[in-house]
Amino acid sequence: MKYEAVIGLEVHAQLSTDSKIFCGCSTGFGAEPNTQTCPVCSGMPGALPVMNRKALEYTVKSGLAMNCRISPLSIFARKNYFYPDLPKGYQISQYDKPICEHGHVDIVVDNAVRRIGITRIHMEEDAGKNLHETAPGYSIVDLNRACVPLMEIVSEPDMRTPREAAVYMKKIRTILRYLGVCDGNMEQGSLRCDANVSVRPVGRKEFGTRSELKNINSFRFVEKAIEYEIDRQIRLIESGGKVVQETRLWDAAAGRTYSMRGKEEAHDYRYFPDPDLVPIEVDAAWVDGIRGAMVELPDARRERFVSEFGLPEYDAEVLTAERSLAEWFESVARAGGAPKAASNWIMGDLMKLLNEDNRSIDDCPLKPAQLAAMLKLIDEGVISGKIAKTVFDEMYRTGRDAAEIVKEKGLVQISDESAIEDEIRRIVDASPKELERYRAGDVKLMGFFVGQVMKATKGKANPKVVNELLRKALEG
């Protein structure tokens, strides 16, 4: 039997506000344990939460970017459970009245656009962290993370393959980074996801029983964990077993999922509206203001790169995946660099160099205007494309301008026909055998002659001129 998977993701994104969601403590990563806490986020008796407006703004922004309806009234609820990293004994989250609902994002997989529904986006606070290794015999609790603002983005069960899930997750990350509301850093836990996975025979409408995979913290693991889980469920069904509803943990080291708790052990979280926080009323004019001030989103930008700069879809997709990369490219184009050439250089040489140095485009030693100027030198025939590679490397290494490097190293292209003709004559005279074979029809030897001329001119000869003059000389 053929099966298809049904996948929905719950993405948890840390909002990049300076302070926590319900108190003024810093959200900075990596501080000494419990140095970023106060009576509120450590759950002292009598302390009360007050909502961070910035977190609300960021969530609304995200909702708008994902085509959600923004609820004029939403409510914080308490999710009650005991755990040492949860100082109040409940997590403040949203339950039946989330801030954003009914949205979607489009993803491109195998050249086809797939629309993935967004069920809801809600705000909540993070928990602290239990450390088990620091003190033998004890578990230590670090509350620096407690009360850090999170946004949970819940998708519809619209994905069918692990690949789609990974692309969707990447798309969410791209959008959030464009908006500047989440740094998307998966290693530091700023972005993580749970996946709901079930399988059903192809053609069947009803969903199969799902399992919820927790603890997925990289794009690679999204794909691997779901792949593993689909495979596990199919094998289970094929061997006559039944999938049970349960929560499973992804073990990245072992490359498998294992059962954490079944349906019977599921918590009764006893959600109820948090009486310490007033309902969030969102003013339509305020939302319109946010909408009006919204940055251009990746989809719109990709389309514009195709229509405005004539880039191929693929280039546009790659260049718009990161907002700063897209902006870097646009600066080159605006500074007069030919768009397609700029795209090639960025996607090729520049990305390669940046990757080698483990650098992001934000700390690229090269300025967009410098690449534009180099492209102009190529265009105007001052340097050849081949020489440009050397020039580009040097520019990247030193941060100096192309013109300066070209001048200093004498890399100016030789376009002077008489100078090139002299060289050609010399080479042709010195290679009578090759000439004979060429004239006998072995036209591939053209390459040999071009190579010889370029070698003699140290690569500086204008290849176009060389080709023209050589052909004339060889054909006599």
Binding site: P45, N80, D276, V278
Partner: protein, 486 residues
Amino acid sequence: MKLYEKNISECRDMLLGGEVSSVEITKSVLERIADVDGRLNAFITVSGEAAMVQAEAADRRRAGGERAPLLGIPLAIKDNICTQGVRTTCASKILGNFIPPYESTATARLAEQGYVMIGKTNMDEFAMGSSTENSAFGPSKNPWNTGCAPGGSSGGSAVAVAADECIAALGSDTGGSIRQPAAFCGVVGMKPTYGRVSRYGLVAFASSLDQIGPITKTVRDAAVLLGAIAGLDTHDSTCAAKPVACYEAAIGREIKGLKIGIPRQYFIEGMDSEVEASVKTAIAQLENLGAIPVEIEMPHTDYAVATYYLIATSEASSNLARFDGVRYGARVKGDDLIDMYRKTRSAGFGAEVKRRIMLGTYALSSGYYDAYYLKAQKVRTLIKRDFDMAFEQVDVIVCPTSPMPPFRIGDKIDDPLQMYLADIFTIALNLAGGPGISVPCGFTSGGLPIGLQLMGRPFDEETLFSAAHAYEQSAAWFLRKPEVAA
């Protein structure tokens, strides 16, 4: 007259006139506590040394020209209001060693004025009770008859005020916990409108009902004390931005033409006859002062107690989850995490607190939420509507504070339902959110105080102060003081 017998406005006048120093008043109050508190048990913690230091500081500030109304006045604070560096127990074993690292907004505002924090008062554990018997530190005694309960849950504060162990006190009121003990102890107790006083630093019992308020010797003092603690606080989202009126200015206003509503549903069968007679006499007295009585209907009154015990316990079950032995308070070692939780909470909480946590957990649990919590919220809306409609007809609602006079210690402690009925007249107001005040309106034949409750429109504390003060001055019950043998 001894210094400790004075009220806030008398102390203020004497301090301003240079007749007395804060140090002298504070010393007098501390001596009084030393004399009588062994018998009354109003205090869990008396901070004598710190109080003297504060009194000296207040005297210096006054010498420097400061004139804040509460500068140098010794006040007692209910032990569920966090005081930085001073143990705050909520009368619970689980917080028996808890010293807050921060100050509540209400007491921080008093501290700005330079008050003297004389000590932390006894209460029902986590404010759950109506007699102050549910205290890990033993019951407080009613100064009018030490065999009787002082009411609760702010019983310690009411006793301390009635027995002159402080000049005035703060309590908290979730279902009557300021007004009922004030009535039982023959003093004034005011529950402000929900959102009038910041709850930041008040250890939560039921967040949507809790309010801090004054317990004082006179209505005027209540106005002064409320004025000091009321107003917007950015640490409490539920605290109102409405400007705070000058409450003392409402003292002495005439009440001619004031419409007072007499709700039929608050004069129930089985109510104590002496209470009923006293309250009716008080209403007649208000009429003499020019008020116009109007019979009104509050049709959903019967549901108030049931509604309250679903909402309050639901919120409490969640609010008290933080007492888990992990970060502060008492911890009992266990074999593993769950065992530690279980042992800590079993040993740390008293019976009534456990009962309410269980009730609330049940009401919120999946499958029961709609039938209990949600239904209760709907009834709460109806009860609130009763008040809204009543206040279209009248300015103030008048009724007994409690259907019964002070009962004997031990009488009701084993019958929670009987105990819950002690708050039958005060609970509805917490559900509706408005302000209420209890003033003494007479004594039983056995010499036990009876309280009159006045309830007002949300954020109209002024009218309550005017009416209560007018009645208080004309009836003059405040002249009677309990005799507490040293």
